[in-house]
């Protein structure tokens, strides 16, 4: 099966993703930033689908957009945003920060320009059909130990979040 109109969808999704990213950092209102971030996340999920990574796309939607962003919105509602709305949104060193980021971007550009041959144009023919099954085999095969460590990390995060957010233990 051949993907339809690949360039069109690529440019659409990447434009949405980058626009969303810009909105995240320029909006004064944190809820607007969160919505922009959701747009970015969903666009990136679309890009994953184009890269024949449907399982990662599904995980992205379920964990990021459905879980983490709800948590973010929840916390934004809990904390008082009225005050920060009236204050400066950016800190005093913003110009240094911009300069550093531009330098970083320039570094990336130079890498892309200098190393044309580093990235092959065509990749392995990955089968979309058995993607999930293969990821499952990797997770419970090669990466068994990492998988267990990840679950431990999540457990620690849960305990830490509960301990910190609870008023009295």
């Amino acid at each position: 099966m051949n993907p339809v109109a690949t360039p069109f969808f690529f440019y659409l999704l990447s434009t949405l993703a980058i626009l969303g990213g810009v909105m995240v950092i320029v909006r004064r209102n944190a809820v607007h930033s969160a919505i922009a971030l959701i747009v970015t996340l969903l666009s990136v999920a679309g890009l994953y689908l184009m890269l024949y990574a449907p399982f990662v796309a599904g995980v992205q939607i379920i964990v990021y957009a459905g879980g983490i962003m709800v948590l973010f919105l929840f916390v934004i509602m809990l904390v008082n945003i009225d005050r920060s709305m009236k204050e400066r949104a950016f800190n005093k060193q913003w110009w240094i920060a911009i300069a550093a980021a531009v330098a970083l971007g320039a570094l990336f550009v130079s890498v892309f320009v200098k190393s044309k041959g580093l990235f092959p144009e065509r990749g392995l023919p990955l089968a979309e059909e058995s993607n999930t099954q293969q990821i499952g085999l990797y997770l419970y095969g090669n990466y068994m130990f990492a998988f267990e460590i990840a679950s431990l990390l999540l457990l620690v995060a849960i305990i830490g979040a509960v301990v910190m957010a609870k008023k009295r233990i």
Binding site: M1, N2, V4, N29, V31, H32, I35, I38, P54, F55, A57, G58, V59, I61, I62, A65, G66, G67, M69, V70, L71, L73, F74, I76, M77, E128, E129, S130, N131, T132, Q133
Partner: protein
């Protein structure tokens, strides 16, 4: 052209998998239309069934037996003034109902109404469904926050906590069903919605009966969690009328409110379709093991047509029971026409060629309708949970039960 249509109808691929944009759009349009009709019908049915449970008649004035009441309501909602609170966050307030509706409708791209009747068949179908349906909570949270009012905010906080917690139990129940798909000779499971139903066909058992009572328990957990997920009674805390007036959509009116309504009912249908696909054999007809053979196949394939004929007969019967008074003449004629329409659909569905293709959709919709009836029944019977009790049920009952069922399913699957 005719050849093209015929060859497509004869093929056994879903339009998305076939890479066929035209048919995909046709299916999208059909599903959109069917869903709107289903929501309208559901509105009428809910009011009528609830009314009859509560010793009253329900809508009776607009059209025969209130059949046109949802249409009148829809018109009223469209014509109503669209109020936006002055202090509301305009953009988010405008965006929230759209997100809710989009999330509820996008789910239907992977719902398999039949082996070929789906917009597309994704490798990660069930994951996609869970993920997209969980996006609806974003819209609800945004609606509550953007209204800039206390009741909606509390409703939004309640709904976000509720939906996120019940998703966990729901996911565990789904995983145990997905695990059952892998119990074949090759040991390969699937996440594709069509693949899950086909696995039930191959294993010759609906997953609700598989490893009894494990499959049954998993479906029970899912059936409870899905009610909480769609914010329906007895878990309707985010819009608890007697506590929060209307919860997150207190400040919404007119068209925007009707979008929330539409989304709620589509989400109900969507989660019911997940349950039907995972445990009740999707489009498969009942009793293939007891009543097998070509004769019974024929009999069961007649069911859709016959049931429409029965509905038509019911409408015709009620036409004769209408009061013979000039005031009711228009309504009587309308009901008679409705009976004729139903009968014609029934006859069409009896035609050979049509009935083979239609019966899958019929059985699927029938099973979904059973779940819809359950929703209404719950609403008529149960009081509402309190927030802490709701959380307790989610985390302390459903989650451990889901984990236990999952582990037991895995153990039994390895042993058998």
């Amino acid at each position: 052209m005719l050849e093209y249509i015929k060859s497509y109808l004869g093929s056994n691929l879903t339009p998305g998998s076939a890479g066929n944009m035209l048919w995909a759009f046709v299916y999208i349009a059909l599903i959109f239309l069917g869903l709107s009709v289903a929501v309208i019908a559901m509105n009428w049915l809910e009011r009528k069934i609830l009314a009859h449970m509560q010793v009253r008649l329900g809508p009776m004035r607009v059209g025969p037996h209130g059949l046109l009441q949802p249409v009148a309501d829809a018109l009223k909602l469209l014509l109503k003034e669209d109020i936006m609170p002055a202090e509301a966050d305009k953009l988010v307030f405008w965006l929230a109902p759209l997100i809710v509706v989009l999330a509820a409708f996008a789910v239907f791209t992977v719902v398999p109404f039949g082996p070929t009747h789906a917009v597309t068949d994704m490798n990660i179908g069930i994951l996609f469904m869970l993920g997209v349906s969980s996006l609806g909570v974003l819209g609800i949270v945004m609606a509550g926050w953007a209204s800039n009012s206390h009741y909606p905010l509390i409703g939004a906080l309640r709904s976000s906590a509720q939906m996120v917690s019940y998703e966990v139990a729901m996911g565990l129940a789904v995983v145990s069903a997905v695990l059952m798909t892998s119990m074949n000779a090759q040991g390969t499971g699937t996440l594709s919605m069509i693949g899950i139903v086909q696995a039930q066909q191959q294993q010759g058992v609906w997953f609700i009966f598989k490893f009894f009572p494990l499959g049954f328990m998993a479906m029970g957990i899912f059936a409870i969690a899905m009610v909480a997920e769609t914010n329906r009674a007895p878990f309707d805390l985010p819009e608890a009328e007697s506590e929060l007036t209307a919860g997150f959509h207190t400040e919404y009116s007119g068209f925007r409110w009707s979008l929330f309504f539409l989304a709620e009912y589509s989400a109900m249908i969507a989660v019911s379709s997940i349950a039907v696909t995972l445990w009740l054999g999707g489009w498969l007809r009942p009793f293939p093991n007891l009543l097998g053979g070509p004769l019974w196949d024929l009999v069961f394939s007649l069911a859709p047509g016959l049931s429409f004929l029965a509905l038509g007969a019911m409408a015709a019967f009620n036409t004769f029971r209408m009061p013979r008074h000039s005031f009711f003449r228009v309504q009587t004629v309308g009901l008679a026409l409705f009976a004729v329409l139903l009968a014609m659909i029934g006859v069409l569905m009896l035609a050979p060629g049509v009935r083979e293709r239609v019966q899958d959709i019929f059985w699927f919709c029938f099973k979904v309708a059973v779940f819809m009836y359950l929703y209404i029944w719950y609403r008529g019977t149960f009081p509402r949970y309190r927030f802490d009790q709701l959380m307790r049920v989610g985390w302390k009952v459903l989650l451990p039960a889901g984990l236990g069922v999952l582990i037991l399913t895995a153990i039994v699957g390895v042993l058998v």
